[in-house]
């Protein structure tokens, strides 16, 4: 654990530099914010289009789905702010050999690689997404209780862990398939499915999203928690999935690294 | 016979966006952009005969590349005019492009993921070279540039020097009359530099091609060109024989020394002008013809750890020839960097 603590100190120094650097690109902030608002609007319109032809989507009402879209946007913000600039660079580092420079440092390599760079402006997407989720929640007219709030916070943390684990899994493939440059596109494609509650999909797809590519746990579960449809048993399951995701990412990283060092880089 | 390259009062002025620092400056610039004209090339006039090789010298940002871009039809002049291979570069169209080649040392056009052979094939088709011509020219270029089996390896696996040689071959398959080379030997190892120099000389003689090149290396200039054009801050300062220039700057050599004992500056001044003094190293400028004798004396008199005799670098030649002001290309370099980064994005 001391290695993780030391890594945290190193990362803090990195983030400070990072922040100064990012201040240079304020113009990009406006552009990316406009882009986020635009795509949020498109997503809400898409949901609205579905609801022209149905009153419920997999048992969810319109504003429930908008709550989910807000959570989707917040998670997408975490991906853009932390995962894509951090672990998303792993394949390029493996190809160029830059990973060697990380491995010789007295830091926790996985921790360091995952969080070395932040695209700070994209945290605005997280705020925007949570704000939308909050607004939509008020529109649903449901009362908010302590149980809903607590399970939401916990399951949202689980969602981040699951998304992180998926990224580690995809990016670790770079150790085996050096030639594949666009693994991130695979995540983007799969994550699209998380824009809808998983119950809105036909059986085969639902099975896929719950068990094989666990994106059901990313948006559907936190949105269920907030809208009061999460059964206590499922909340416990979510907690287990989150812990398993972190453990699996750690294990996978170890295996991948063995492969890297034994292959001589 | 008309000149292969003719530049008449060629000028290029860019409007550079002026912006005060800080957020306020950025907002003001957004609302009411201000522009400041920068003369990148200022009334440059010269003529180059067919078959000649001319070197274009000057500090970074002096206007060399801008001039080359006007001569190749990438930019049009703000005023004045150019004629290359009988065409106005800006309006010459494909007939003009068939007659020139433009090789940029820091930008490659080889297909990165494929062997150079594929780029050759592509250029054969793009320039409409007949099969018979292609076979003959390809064989000649492979021989002169000593390409061997390099042409069958993916370009990304080649060294910088190998890539540049293949780049040249690809650019010459259509046998251009006029060849523009921007820093062709930049960053290459000595052997590759040497091959490229001797190749260009040989190629020019065989095919009566006209060559205009820019370079930082004095060796490129002495090996390839008998005539030099010196440009600084957009103005043509010198156009003439290289030997005349050398005579004009008082033919000097630089003796670079590393001393193993402490020697006062005054003592070194007995041997020549001390251009640079930072113990334990020092640089002494001496007349060209006495360089050997001076070296011998230095070696005999002082405890010398290392000694080498060098040609003055181009920047130094220019400084000596035209005084201190000529060396200062920095203001201009900054302007050209700005031009590259910012002006294209300015509203029309």
């Amino acid at each position: 654990m001391t290695s993780i603590r030391r890594t945290a100190t190193v990362l803090r120094a990195f983030w400070q530099l990072n922040w100064l650097e990012e201040l240079q690109y304020r113009g990009n902030f406006i552009a990316s914010l406009l882009g986020t608002v635009f795509w949020l609007l498109m997503a809400i319109l898409t949901a609205a289009l579905y609801f022209r032809h149905t009153s419920r989507l997999g048992g969810w009402e319109f504003w429930d789905v908008v709550v989910l879209l807000g959570i989707f946007n917040a998670l997408a913000g975490v991906v853009e702010a932390v995962l894509r600039p951090g672990i998303g660079h792993l394949p390029a580092d493996v190809r160029s050999g830059a990973l060697d420079l990380v491995l010789v440092r007295p830091v926790d390599a996985q921790f360091y690689v995952s969080f070395r760079r932040l695209d700070v402006w994209r945290f605005a997407d997280v705020v925007l997404g949570l704000a939308l989720a909050g607004y939509a929640f008020v529109q649903t007219g449901r009362p908010i209780g302590a149980w809903e709030l607590i399970t939401f916070v916990v399951t949202f943390a689980v969602a981040i862990a699951v998304v992180y684990a998926i990224w580690v899994a995809l990016m670790s493939l770079a150790f085996w398939f050096v030639a594949v440059e666009n693994m991130a596109a695979l995540f983007d494609a799969l994550f699209e499915a998380a824009r809808n509650p998983v119950s809105a999909y036909p059986g085969a797809l639902r099975f896929l999203f719950v068990y094989l590519i666990p994106i059901a746990w990313t948006t559907t579960i936190p949105a269920s928690a907030l809208t009061g449809r999460l059964r206590p048993a499922l909340a416990l399951w979510a907690l287990a999935v989150g812990i398993a995701a972190i453990g699996a990412s750690r294990l996978l990283w170890r295996v991948a690294l063995t492969r890297y060092t034994s292959a001589g880089g | 016979m008309p000149a292969a390259i003719l530049a008449t009062e060629l000028s290029k002025t860019y409007d550079v966006k002026v912006r005060d620092p800080g957020i306020k400056g950025a907002l003001v610039a957004l609302a009411r952009p201000r522009y400041r004209p920068v003369r990148a090339v200022d009334s440059v006039t010269f003529a180059i005969e067919r078959g000649d090789a001319v070197a274009f010298l000057g500090p970074n940002g002096a206007g060399k590349t801008t001039t080359l871009k006007m001569l190749t039809g990438l930019l049009f002049p703000s005023s004045g005019c150019a004629q290359v291979a009988g065409y106005d570069p800006w309006t010459g169209g494909n007939a003009f492009r068939q007659r020139i080649a433009f090789v940029l040392g820091n930008k490659q056009q080889l297909l990165w993921d494929l062997p150079p052979e594929e780029t050759f094939r592509l250029n054969r088709a793009i320039y409409g070279v007949s099969a018979a011509d292609y076979t003959a020219r390809r064989a000649e270029l492979v021989e002169l540039l000593v390409l061997g089996d390099l042409v069958d390896k993916p370009a990304r696996q080649l060294s910088l020097g190998e890539r540049m040689k293949c780049e040249l071959a690809a650019a010459l398959l259509h046998q251009p009359e006029v060849l523009f080379l921007d820093e062709p030997t930049l960053g290459l190892d000595l052997e590759a530099q040497q091959t490229i120099r001797s190749f260009l000389g040989e190629y020019r003689q065989r095919h009566d091609a006209t060559v205009l090149l820019t370079s930082h290396y004095m060796a490129d200039v002495t090996a390839l060109a008998s005539r030099v054009l010196i440009i600084n801050r957009g103005r043509l300062l010198y156009d003439g024989e290289l030997s005349e220039l050398v005579a004009r700057i008082a033919p000097i050599k630089r003796i670079e020394l590393v001393l193993s004992e402490l020697v006062p500056r005054a003592r070194l001044e007995n041997y020549g002008r001390v251009a640079h003094f930072a113990p334990p190293s020092a640089t002494i400028e001496v007349p060209r013809e006495t360089a050997t004798a001076a070296s011998a004396r230095l070696l005999a008199d002082l405890a010398v750890a290392d000694l080498s005799i060098q040609d003055p670098p181009i920047e130094e030649v220019i400084r000596i020839a035209f005084g201190e002001g000529a060396q200062d290309g920095e203001g201009n370099a900054e302007a050209e960097a700005l031009v590259r980064a910012d002006v294209r994005r300015a509203p029309p």
Binding site: H53 | L74, L104, G128, R344
Partner: protein
């Protein structure tokens, strides 16, 4: 200097295209693993839309669309989308930013031909892969079988080629705005966002609010996706519908061709004035 035999301009042009396509194809082969991922990326969106509409249609047809009709429609979307993708704006943006446009401008062939050859070399094989996947799926899943009539397929191919040409010129001309602005690709994305609805990507146009569908009819969006998909899946039946659709495609092709020519000549002039 040059050989005695001069070849006709047409022969040279054909030769140029053959070699441009050959090298583009060889480069694609190097990136086949990455291309496989792009293909997955391309089909997920229609599959997700299909999944949702399939569930909605559980209770019965939605405005005349049965589950089978949705399945055929979105398989059509996946195929037509693959054949009409547009990525050139990103290339143009990079070439201008990194100075790679320069050598392209000193060659005796306009850069757009390289882009066209690149598009044909990529879309031919990848669209064939999607089509093959469709045929295999149809063997197991009757819902996605569409009638096989040669005349009707020939019309579908014409409609898809026209759609690809319109979307290509649309993307290319928008991308050329990179001569003036660094945000040209954002404009392409903006159009893409609008096209989600107006071209029929996330739902057949007839399921949109009537006003929106009407607005779409005045733009090029339906002609680059909805119309070719309808021709392909056989949901267009009357001659009048065919005539209107193809006429719309030809008109929008002409408009975007003119816009491309305009932006190209203006942009080239601007580039010549301020450099790259």
């Amino acid at each position: 200097m040059t050989s005695g035999t001069t070849r006709s301009a047409v022969a040279v042009f054909r030769d140029q295209y053959a070699e441009l396509m050959r090298s583009a194809f060889l480069i694609d082969l190097q990136y086949r693993a990455s291309i496989a991922i792009w293909l997955i990326w391309g089909v997920t969106e229609p599959i997700i839309s299909l999944g949702i509409w399939w569930s909605i249609a559980a209770a019965g047809a939605v405005d005349g669309f049965t589950r089978e009709a949705f399945a055929q429609y979105f398989f059509g979307v996946a195929l037509v989308n693959q054949a009409t993708l547009s990525w050139d704006a990103w290339n143009i943006d990079r070439w201008i930013r990194e100075g790679e446009m320069n050598y392209r401008l000193t060659r005796p062939i306009a850069p757009i031909h390289e882009a066209i050859a690149d598009n044909v070399a990529y879309k031919g094989p990848t669209a064939t892969i999607i089509l093959s996947a469709w045929i295999i799926a149809a063997a197991f899943w009757p819902a996605v079988r569409i009638p096989f009539e040669p005349a009707h397929w020939a019309l579908a191919i014409v409609a898809i080629v026209l759609a690809a040409a319109i979307r290509f010129l649309n993307g290319y001309a928008t991308g050329l705005l990179a001569f003036w602005t660094t945000r040209a690709t954002a404009l392409v994305e903006l159009q893409f966002g609008i096209s989600l609805f107006l071209s029929g990507r996330i739902a057949p146009l007839s399921l949109l609010p009537p006003r929106v569908a009407e607005v779409a009819g005045y733009l090029w969006f339906p002609y680059v996706l909805s119309f070719p998909v309808q021709v392909l899946t056989g949901t267009i039946t009357t001659t009048a519908q065919y005539v209107r659709g193809f006429a719309g495609q030809v008109i929008w092709l002409a408009i975007w061709l003119m816009l491309y020519l305009l932006v190209w000549s203006r942009g080239r002039r601007h580039y010549g004035a301020v450099g790259g």
